[in-house]
Structure formats: structure tokens, C-alpha cells
């Protein structure tokens, strides 16, 4: 049974208010193409989840599509600085920043993957985030030790952009996998966008996929799906586009940019 479909078909199945976990990291293999598509079709009240995100959060906040961002870090790196639309969203109160440590995002996703409502975590000692976010504690029934408990986050949809996928959803990931494996197991449904679809005999005894298709729901070919971020083996960061993107100040400018096309 082929999982290959079209992006618009998947978009129809993503509801307003969905929790969406995003693969990749900052400017690398991030599913920017899907974020653009979600922004263009006017999804609302999305809850974005990822350890360290950048452009997905920035443009979806810019189009007013986001209610909540759960992340450890939201920003480009040194070169492109902060995510201006995201910042504006949080500072205006339109967007709720559920600030996590990256590890607590991972732990919340793990809890979902393991089918439990929470997991204990080591860390956050003396952090004001505990009260700000409302993290609760749990007592180890064996030792009595009090640990922070992280509630499961079960994304309605996980979105990963990879280099190659077959029709079963098996993926080749060139370069770092970041937290993609965890997202693939935590989300209720999993969308793979890929640069290339490969034939059935691409994976097998000679070469195992990096990510199993078992948890994949949809496979969509979306060339340049991480641009203007990088996709190792295919393209590097598109600095020209990034510089132009960073000049956008208003939602109208952002909208015009999104209408321009696929890069």
C-alpha cells in the first residue's frame, strides 16, 4: 500500500488547533516547505513543538497561525539572529511561549512514544521555568526522591523533511537525524516530505533505511522542502533568500513573500 500522496490532501486532514511536531534543527532539514503551506492555507491556532526551531515558527507566527510554541530555543543562529515575527507574537501576547529545555521537549515526546502520561526528568533545579510553565513534581515510589514530571505531548501530526523516501515511508536521512526518530514515534500521524522518491529496491539487505516506514502515514515529494534552510546532500542554506526574508517587517510583506513560489 503506497503512502505517497499530495501535500494539499494532507493539509485537508490537518485541523486548526493541531499540535505539530517538526523535524530537523534550526536551519537544517527543517520542514519549512510544509510550514509555508500551512501558513498559505490559513491554518489557525497551531501548537508547534520542537527542541530548536527557527523559520517554521517565525513565518507561522507572522501569518497568525500559531497559538503556542513549545521549544527550548526559537531563533536563527548567530548570523540571522532572532525570529522577529515569533518575538512580536509572544511580546504582544498573541503567541504563548511554552518555554522548555530542549530535553524536556524530548522527554514530553518520549512520554507520548512510550504511551505514558508523563515521565520524570533530571534537571530544572532552581529554574523559574518550573513555576512559569507549571511543571509538577512526582515522588519516586522506591527511593522517595522528588523529581520534575514532564507531561506527555502527543502531536497530532509530526512533519519530517528527509532526502529520500520510498512509497512505504522508509527514509534515508543524510547528515544528522536530530530528534526525528523520537518525533516519528510520538506523533499520532507522521508526514514525510522528501526531495526524492526512491524505488522499492532502494532499501533492503544492502542498505537499511535510516527511519522505518512503520510509523509513517503520508509521503509527499516536496523538492526544496527545507529551503531556504539546508538539506545535506541537496542544498546548503540559501543566504540570499534568508537575507531578504529577514528584511520582511509586516504580515503583508510576509504574505507577499509566501505567494512568490516555492523558495
Amino acid at each position: 500500500m503506497s503512502k505517497i500522496t499530495q501535500l494539499h490532501t494532507v493539509l485537508e486532514q490537518i485541523q486548526d488547533g493541531s499540535m505539530i511536531a517538526l523535524g530537523g534543527n534550526v536551519m537544517y532539514r527543517s520542514p519549512v516547505g510544509v510550514a509555508k503551506a500551512l501558513a498559505k492555507v490559513g491554518k489557525k491556532n497551531l501548537h508547534l513543538v520542537k527542541t530548536a526551531m527557527a523559520m517554521e515558527a517565525d513565518l507561522l507566527c507572522g501569518t497568525g497561525s500559531v497559538s503556542t510554541v513549545s521549544a527550548g530555543f526559537v531563533g536563527y543562529e548567530t548570523q540571522y539572529g532572532l525570529c522577529a515575527f515569533y518575538r512580536k507574537g509572544v511580546e504582544s501576547g498573541a503567541v504563548q511561549a511554552q518555554e522548555h529545555a530542549c530535553y524536556s521537549v524530548i522527554t514530553a515526546l518520549r512520554a507520548s512514544a512510550y504511551g505514558v502520561p508523563f515521565l520524570p526528568i533530571r534537571g530544572f533545579n532552581g529554574s523559574d521555568l518550573v513555576d512559569a510553565i507549571g511543571f509538577k513534581t512526582v515522588k519516586d515510589p522506591y527511593t522517595g526522591e522528588e523529581l520534575l514530571a514532564i507531561a506527555a505531548m502527543r502531536p497530532d501530526v509530526g512533519v519530517l523533511h528527509v532526502q529520500k523516501a520510498d512509497r512505504f515511508g522508509n527514509c534515508e536521512i543524510i547528515g544528522s537525524q536530530y530528534e526525528d526518530q523520537t518525533i516519528a514515534r510520538a506523533a499520532k500521524k507522521l508526514l514525510i516530505t522528501c526531495e526524492e522518491i526512491v524505488p522499492d529496491d532502494y532499501f533492503g539487505a544492502h542498505k537499511k533505511a535510516d527511519l522505518s516506514g512503520v510509523t509513517v502515514t503520508w509521503v509527499v515529494q516536496l523538492k526544496n522542502g527545507a529551503a531556504p534552510g539546508a538539506c545535506p546532500g541537496y542544498y546548503d542554506i540559501d543566504h540570499e533568500t534568508m537575507q531578504r526574508f529577514k528584511t520582511l517587517k509586516t504580515p503583508e510583506q510576509l504574505k507577499a513573500y509566501l505567494e512568490e513560489g516555492e523558495s
Partner: protein, 239 residues
Amino acid sequence: MSQYKPSDLLTISIARALKGAENCFHGVASGIPCIAIMLSRRLHNPDLVYLNITGGVNVDREICEVSTDGNSLYEDSRSSFGLTDIFDLAARGGLDVAFLSGGQVDQGGRVNNSVIGPFRQPKVKLPGGAGSAVLIPNTKRAFVWKSKHEKRGLVERVDFITSQGNVKYVFTPLCTFEMVDGSLQVKERMPGVSFETIQENTGFAVEDNGAPEMAPPTLEELRMLDEIDPQGFRDLETR
């Protein structure tokens, strides 16, 4: 002094402090630590296990991009030991050194990467502490660096405590602070930098404790630094 820049001093001071460390980690937007770790491994700690977000282990190559979570820090690695693995390692007490920066760092070694102003609808939303809220308490020694030594970034008391815990040093282009009895003390001044200069640029009271000047960069250090970072990416942060 003309042959080295503030970024060189900062990077070299960090590289020297990594002597004796068994393993270390830096995250996103961490160009200076990335270069300092590579320098330390080449100079005096070849067995230092170098971990980063990508899962690359002990990558040692010329820096070719400003980012510190891209493929250049992964590609050549013999194995993959990813971010989740690194957090777990720290949680079970196995991570020696983690590098963290902060929008604000205060005299008690507390770090703020979250907000200026109220948490909901803040005056300024900072990008977030990334892993710091778990790494600063879980790592044996947290190394904080500030690429700019300024009053607004080195404060008496942070607006919001994103993280605190095992901060060992705070490195800046003017000096290295060390946590002593819960308070940052000058450990070493950069060559030619007076306590007065440090105080003028620091938001908390700096005690003249007689801390010495750091030994100037050696020619070997400077040469290796240029080999690792010939394009001068380290200057992007300190400029």
C-alpha cells in the same frame, strides 16, 4: 597585543580551561566554544571527547560555516551520538563540560535566556535557554561564555532564572570569572585589562582580588586558531 583580537583571547582562554576535561558539549549558536574545543584537542587535550547537537563525535576540521548544528560538524564523524544521547549522558552524571551562553548572566551564576519583563507578554522575548535548564544543573562543570563583556549582559540579578547550578566559569573578552562560594570572582584578566576596565563594563561589583593577567596567546595557539578558523568566524560574535 596587535597580533591578537578579543575573539582570539576569549577562544584561547576557553581552550586552556578545557585541559583535563574528559568530554564536552556545545549547542546551537556556539561558534566560540566550537573553535575553542577543537583548539584544546589539538593543543593539550587530544583525548577530550567532543560532542555537539548533530551527533558528530570528535569532529576536527576547518570551520566553514557560522552555524554549529549543521552537517560540517557531523559528516566526518566515525559515529553518531546525538543530542538526546548527550542530554541523557548529562542526566546520569556523565557529562564533564557543557557550554552555554545567556542574554543575562548574574553574579550568582544564574542565567537568563527567557524574557526581560513578565513571562507572559514580556518586554523582550529572548530565544530560550535551549538545553541550559537541564545542562547547567546536570553537567559537572557548566562553562558560560559572553562574547561581549557589557553591563547589560553581566548583571547583579537576572530578570528571570532560566537556569542555574554547576556554573564553573564565565568567559568574556575581558576576563574569566570563576564561581567561588556561589559568587563570580575574577580568576584571570585578559592581557592588559585592568580591574577598573572590567568593573566599568560589568553590572555587578567586581572585587579586585589580585587575579593575574592571563598569559598571552602563544604563537602556536594563534597559528592553530587560524588553521581551525581561517575565515575568522569567531569574530562574528565579539564584533
